[in-house]
């Protein structure tokens, strides 16, 4: 048991290191994500030209929709890398645990999306002239938990849609319906903090529950998905 968990950890970190190195060399995912969400911000700012009070109400939705779409771009990239030269098969014939691959991918995507959020948030603040009325520190757990919720299911469904025809299209089709409670939690929670009208605690608990439930489910089922053929 101990050896198995240590091999899980070591393979996870080896894979994560490899992914980050590959991303660093090509910068495919990060560049496309960044540019994509920049476009979203600009286009949204053209389509809505709100006052400060109004923007507080809508910006929670805008931010998360932008990040959601940007995350989908990144999620499609992570597995595409493994499909080139069918490297995934090399992983599948090795004795390394399937969940190590999954965890590495989730952590990698999590880091990418968090970096993206850190870079994009100032832009949103500038474009929408934001001024937070509620306790601003609550945005941090909301962002972390919400991003994890998107990324954990997104990585799973991206792996699932690998095995389908027109896979780039499949990912949002599978991911969005399942993510509805998480998106609701993120958007409503962010809005609650921005307006300061009601407490965001419940949404943090909701996201936490969502994360725990789906992380467990993903870890339980990923092996089946990876080896389904």
């Amino acid at each position: 048991m101990n050896e198995a968990s240590s091999s899980l950890l070591s393979v996870t970190f080896a894979t994560l290191k490899k992914d980050i190195r590959l991303e660093w060399r090509s910068k495919d995912a990060l560049n496309s994500m960044l540019f994509f969400s920049l476009l979203v911000v600009v286009i949204f700012s053209f389509s809505f030209d709100p006052l400060a009070e109004e923007s507080r109400l809508i910006v929670g939705g805008l931010v998360w929709v932008a990040f959601l779409f940007a995350a989908v771009v990144a999620l499609n990239q992570t597995w595409a890398r493994e499909l080139r030269n069918q490297v995934l098969d090399a992983y599948r014939v090795s004795p390394a645990p399937a969940n190590a691959l999954f965890l590495a991918k989730v952590l990698g995507n999590f880091i990418f999306v968090i970096v993206l959020e850190a870079l994009m948030t100032p832009l949103f603040v500038i474009f929408y002239n934001l001024h937070v009325l509620g306790p601003a520190w609550q945005l941090i757990p909301l962002a972390l938990l919400g991003t994890w919720a998107l990324v954990v299911n997104g990585t799973f469904f991206a792996a699932m849609s690998l095995r389908t025809r027109n896979r780039e299209l499949m990912l949002p089709l599978l991911l969005f319906p399942i993510s509805i409670p998480a998106v609701l939690g993120m958007v409503a929670g962010t809005t609650a903090v921005l307006t300061g009208d009601n407490p965001a605690h419940f949404y943090i608990v909701l996201l936490l529950t969502y994360d725990v439930v789906f992380t467990t489910a993903c870890l339980g089922l990923f092996e089946t998905i990876l080896h389904a053929e």
Partner: protein
């Protein structure tokens, strides 16, 4: 679990370059059966790649798998590697399922199974981690054994086809498997490199490995492979000692002659 114990340190480090010499299969030990395939069926919707393959293969021999496109060679190899789950039937490798025996199996596919953006050594270091092999010594040794330079910093994507095939082979033998499954190891490789590779494979067979190679260049393996397995329409139709040996099916004979 322990990282693989090396039963025999690299015995094939010296590449003898040139045309393979005459048959070495004067091996007369009673070969033990260690790979059993029973009534294997693999169906993809309206198409069946394997339709009831039943066979037993002996250890320590070089098997060449021949057949037309779509005869089910690659699927059989993938099933042996544990990549494709059979729709029906079973495979036993040393009495275990292919997944359970994965440490004994080295798999080399037609694509390189390597990351194009990383150098050969970086690739092998990562895959060694998957098998729990610590340290770079083993990886360096394996790269040398296939006739490449571990110091080469170029990413694999910029290798020539022949180098890439060899690096791919290095990845497959990294954990010193007892069974090697090779899918088209000589395709798109010039004759010279192909011959080198054949020599290398023969020396590995002599070191006690069981080798399965799917190939279209059967003549390359004449005198090297111990057995030729002929596949057609998702079944094994014949097993012979030589490419020109007696065959049950004349249909295969003529078709194969065209390929050669």
């Amino acid at each position: 679990m322990l990282p693989c114990a090396w039963n025999h340190p690299l015995q094939y480090t010296h590449l003898s370059i040139g045309v393979p010499s005459k048959p070495t299969n004067s091996v007369s030990e009673p070969a033990t059966t260690n790979i059993i395939v029973r009534d294997l069926v693999k169906q993809f919707g309206r198409f069946a790649a394997l339709r009831g393959v039943t066979a037993e293969f002996a250890a320590g021999r070089f098997h060449a798998i021949l057949g037309d496109n779509g005869a089910g060679k690659t699927t059989l190899l993938r099933a042996l590697a544990g990549l494709a789950h059979p729709t029906r039937g079973e495979i036993l490798i040393f009495g275990k399922s292919p997944q359970a025996a994965c440490r004994e199996i080295g798999y080399m596919a037609h694509p390189s199974l390597l990351y194009d953006e990383m150098s050969g050594m970086e690739n092998l270091r990562y895959f060694a981690g998957l098998y729990g092999i610590a340290g770079d010594k083993r990886s360096e040794g394996v790269i040398r054994s296939v006739g490449l330079d571990p110091e080469l910093a170029r990413p694999v994507g910029q290798y020539s086809q022949g180098m890439r095939q060899r690096m791919s082979l290095a990845r497959a033998i990294l954990h010193d498997p007892k069974i090697l499954l090779l899918d088209e190891p000589f395709s798109n490789v010039d004759v010279h490199s192909a011959r080198e590779m054949v020599t290398l494979l023969r020396s590995m067979r002599d070191a006690g490995k069981t080798i399965f190679a799917v190939t279209h260049q059967a003549l390359l393996l004449e005198g090297v492979a111990d057995e030729f397995i002929w596949m057609q329409a998702g079944q094994i139709v014949d097993r012979t000692d030589s490419v020109h040996g007696p065959r049950l099916s004349t249909a295969v004979n003529t078709q194969q002659a065209e390929v050669l």
